[in-house]
């Protein structure tokens, strides 16, 4: 083979192999580092593994926000219209956190089964609904209708 072609080939091979290894590693670590979203119904059903960081969200239940007397600890409930779950957070809530607002929180379930949030996110837009929360609401909605149907007939 012509030496120039040989160098070209080894170069392409070098690039392709390098990039493939990198992409492989990326994909593998990606699957280890994602935060899955759980709806309040799923959480209430006990689907959340203890100690793993997940994202949870829903509408903040009106009247459920309770501050601790000292410090910044706060407990609030989120709902998808079917189940309500309490979340504990020790820190400063975002400006747009309010009752009735859709929020998403990064939470971890502790041994006592309480969800402890490390971060609470609310978008800087009042009419915005996080898509995960919207999805949770829609799922819960259809479930609520089924339950109602079963209870009646």
């Amino acid at each position: 083979m012509h030496p120039k072609r040989k160098q070209r080939l080894s170069l392409i091979l070098f690039m392709v192999v390098g990039v493939s290894i990198a992409v492989g590693l990326l994909m593998y670590s990606l699957s280890q580092n994602i935060n899955l979203f759980y709806t309040p119904t799923q959480i209430a059903d006990g689907e959340v593994p203890i100690g793993q960081t997940i994202r949870a969200g829903g509408l903040v239940v009106a009247g459920s926000v309770e501050r601790e007397e000292h410090g910044l600890g706060v407990t609030f409930k989120v709902t998808d219209g079917f189940a309500e779950v309490p979340i504990y957070f020790d820190g400063i809530l975002p400006d747009l956190f309010r009752e009735g607002q859709g929020i998403v929180a990064l939470v971890r379930m502790n041994e006592a089964g309480l969800l402890v949030a490390s971060e609470v996110l609310a978008k800087h837009d009042e009419v915005y609904m996080p898509p995960e929360v919207q999805d949770a609401l829609d799922q819960a909605h259809s479930r609520g209708k089924e339950a109602l149907y079963e209870a009646r007939y």
Partner: protein, 174 residues
């Protein structure tokens, strides 16, 4: 021709297909609730304000109507209230559903902040709300003149939402 050079193009095409489907997913989540194009669920009760007899049939009075689910315990409803007052002034027919609330508190509220509603359906145990698939207040349904639900909005009504919903309303009026 070297097949290797087509690889970037193929990767791009795959990505474009993904985006195309992604746009579709977006459409699906914004698909209206199953109640759209269904008649408003039946109810028969006495109005919150004056205690007259009201039913689903008397909701629309043969004009397009907004049905607004609200409660005094809901802060977003308070934010929305001024906008509803404005709409009522413009001649939009609005019926209220006072959801999981106390009748007395609700009357106080309407006295204090103004009453944009033609009348209110008291729904203290949230039964009507459940039939409507209400997640929480506020929510608003748009009914055509025949009492069929044409659109639903979750969250407060405001100018931005009304840009879209108002168009639908105007269309139903014609």
């Amino acid at each position: 021709m070297r097949p290797l050079l087509f690889v970037p193009l193929l990767i791009f095409v795959a990505m474009a297909v993904l985006f195309w489907i992604g746009l579709g997913i977006e459409d699906k989540t914004s698909l209206p609730s199953p109640l759209i194009n269904q008649p408003f669920p039946a109810f028969e009760t006495l109005s919150l304000e004056r205690g007259e007899s009201i039913t689903a049939a008397s909701l629309t009075n043969n004009e397009p109507t907004l049905v607004n689910v609200w409660a005094t315990w809901c802060p977003t409803c308070k934010a929305e209230h001024a906008f509803l007052n404005d709409l009522a002034k413009q001649g939009v027919r609005i019926i209220g559903i006072n959801y999981k609330d106390d009748d007395y508190k609700a009357r106080q509220w309407l006295l204090a902040y103004g009453n944009p509603y033609v009348w209110n359906v008291p729904d203290p145990d949230g039964r009507l709300g459940l039939e409507l698939g209400v997640y929480g207040a506020p929510e608003t349904f748009l009914l055509d003149a025949d009492g069929v639900i044409r659109a639903k909005h979750i969250g407060d009504l405001n100018d931005r939402v009304w840009e879209r919903l108002g168009q639908q309303y105007e269309a139903l009026k014609r």
